[in-house]
Amino acid sequence: MARADNPASISDMTISALNSPVSYGTTLQATASATATPPVDTVSELTITNTIWLWTATGDTNSVCIETNSENSTDWYWTNAPGGDNTVTITASVTYKCTNMYGPTNISVSCSNTFTVTVIQLTNQCVSTTPSDQTRTTIGVGEQVSLWLVGSPSGTFSWGTSAGSLLYTFGTTNVFTAPDTASTPTVTVYYNSGSSSRVPFNVLEPTSELAVIYQSNLLSYPSGQPLPAGIQGASMELYPITVYPTNVSFYNVECQEQYCAATGIWGYFTNRAGPHARQDWVQLLADNTWADEAGCTNYPAPWSQGGYQWIIPVKWRVVVGSTHTGSLPNRTETFSIDDTNGTTTVSKLVQSVTR
């Protein structure tokens, strides 16, 4: 073995994370350099025939790492590093291939250094589990979305939105509430380097309804018993009444039938048809459904043909923090007595029942 006048050494590794913190998906860059001192041994007549640098990187980046050269200074690039603070250790090794009076010999030295790269991975998840895709960015008016920075990266983060509201101004988590009108707001999180990450949303309003008959010809709620024989009348419970579009959730929306006067009154119902009263607001379920009852009973004999209709305006609004009220298409509800037996037909939302 060679006796060194000066043993080989390597030191002063410096690493700079050139662009940390970065947004998720951005290529991370770092530069590392080290100083190596070759061995000197005059006694054994040591001669260096080749110098080989080897750089390696380990850590929790779980990423593809590409080394761009093999000299004493290298540039490193990572892609797909996960959100959060990623600790990376870079190791530099130098192998001196030598010969001396005893023959060939290798002398190796190494050093390492650790640094942190911060990746800002902004993630969004709709609070409503319906529709099943909670990662969607097309959402309903008033719908809420949880937002957070994956891996809770270190640093100072502030939040902003172009429309709607955010629960917090600072921190690594937040809740976004969509505005009460159709719009395309963007939520942005700013971090200490002056950079930002953003999530654009597409906010949709209720547009239409479709009803299904759940059950018919029962006594009024909450009785639930069948209409007795001999009693004039027909009724139907409409459920579900689905509010479209259904690729978003309107769980934070409530709807209300408005006042309207009876129109098209004829025959039996002349002087018997009253107005439709404004009803309570009813909050939609997460699958955008609600329910209704349409009925007409107990009109006294003798019966004759006649009918009337209500053209009912339907309003919607966001349950929380909103002053805006929108409209769904009017609901047409018709009532008629079809013969002298008191046969009655009730229609609403394109559904109909006759008894």
């Binding site: 709620y221 001999g230 009263a277 309570d280 909050q283 329910a291 107990n298």
Partner: protein
């Protein structure tokens, strides 16, 4: 959560001026902040005592929003804790339906759990408060709750041979006092069902506060010097489930009891 829900009501209730004054002056200086918040809390208590529940909720919502949108410090954490205690005492004493200040209690609890930098007894006090709050949320939930029927319109129960009735008609258009009274009762029940649904649905969402609360408690235990009797009390108070108890036990096993 429904933090901003009552801003709308606040505007309707004419409380905007109060809130704006509060917002502008709230963070002008530490002493002034405390005075302002103390004044706001006193006003809240007055509203509650006067039975002005809606105004109480509106003003409470505004105070909470100002607290949690400001950058957290020890002062705002202790004020948040005080406010959470005040809200919880009232909310769970009187509510059976509707959401009251439930969303505000959620916001406060998450804020405290995520931003509390206190140690020792001060932090343990917050654990007691948070676990008691969680217990309230859990115990009020109805197991296997099925949503109650809520209809856009109700059909009155008519009398054979009497006045004909239609769904959604104006109660004042019914001449028979019994039919009208029954119709109004059915409408009231329908409305009550809607409030109960809303309450149970909100409680389920608000229960998500358990995550931050458990983590707060684990951090406290991790700091050491927590008596075992206190941990047991918190577990009971928060009605912790098996998974949460397991998480706590793991940290206790690593840290040990006082």
């Amino acid at each position: 959560m429904k933090t901003s829900m009552l801003l709308n009501m606040m505007l309707r209730g004419g409380l905007l001026v109060v809130i704006v004054c509060f917002t502008e002056s709230c963070f002008a200086g530490e002493g002034y902040v405390k005075q302002t918040i103390d004044k706001q809390l006193a006003q809240l208590e007055d509203l509650w005592t006067a039975g002005k529940t809606e105004e109480y909720c509106a003003q409470g919502a505004a105070v909470v929003r100002d607290l949690i949108t400001a950058k957290g410090d020890a002062g705002s954490i202790s004020t948040s804790a005080m406010l959470l205690k005040s809200f919880s005492d009232k909310e769970f004493a009187v509510r059976g339906s509707g959401i009251g200040v439930l969303s505000e209690t959620y916001d406060l609890a998450v804020y405290i759990a995520n931003n509390d930098k206190a140690r020792g007894l001060e932090r343990q006090k917050n654990d007691a408060l948070l676990t008691e709050y969680l217990g309230h949320i859990r115990r009020e939930q109805i197991r296997n709750f099925s949503r109650l029927k809520v209809l856009a319109n109700i059909t009155p129960s008519g009398v054979p041979g009497g006045q004909g009735v239609t769904s959604g008609m104006d109660p004042n258009g019914i001449s028979d006092p019994v039919v009208r009274s029954n119709y109004l009762m059915a409408i009231k029940q329908n409305h009550q069902n809607a409030l109960t649904n809303e309450r149970q649905s909100s409680l389920k969402i608000v229960e998500q506060v358990s995550g931050p609360i458990v983590q707060h408690m684990i951090s406290t235990i991790g700091q050491g010097d927590v008596p075992s009797t206190l941990v047991t009390k918190w577990l009971d108070s928060g009605d912790f489930n098996d998974q949460e108890q397991k998480e706590v036990k793991e940290i206790v096993d690593r840290t040990g009891f006082k």
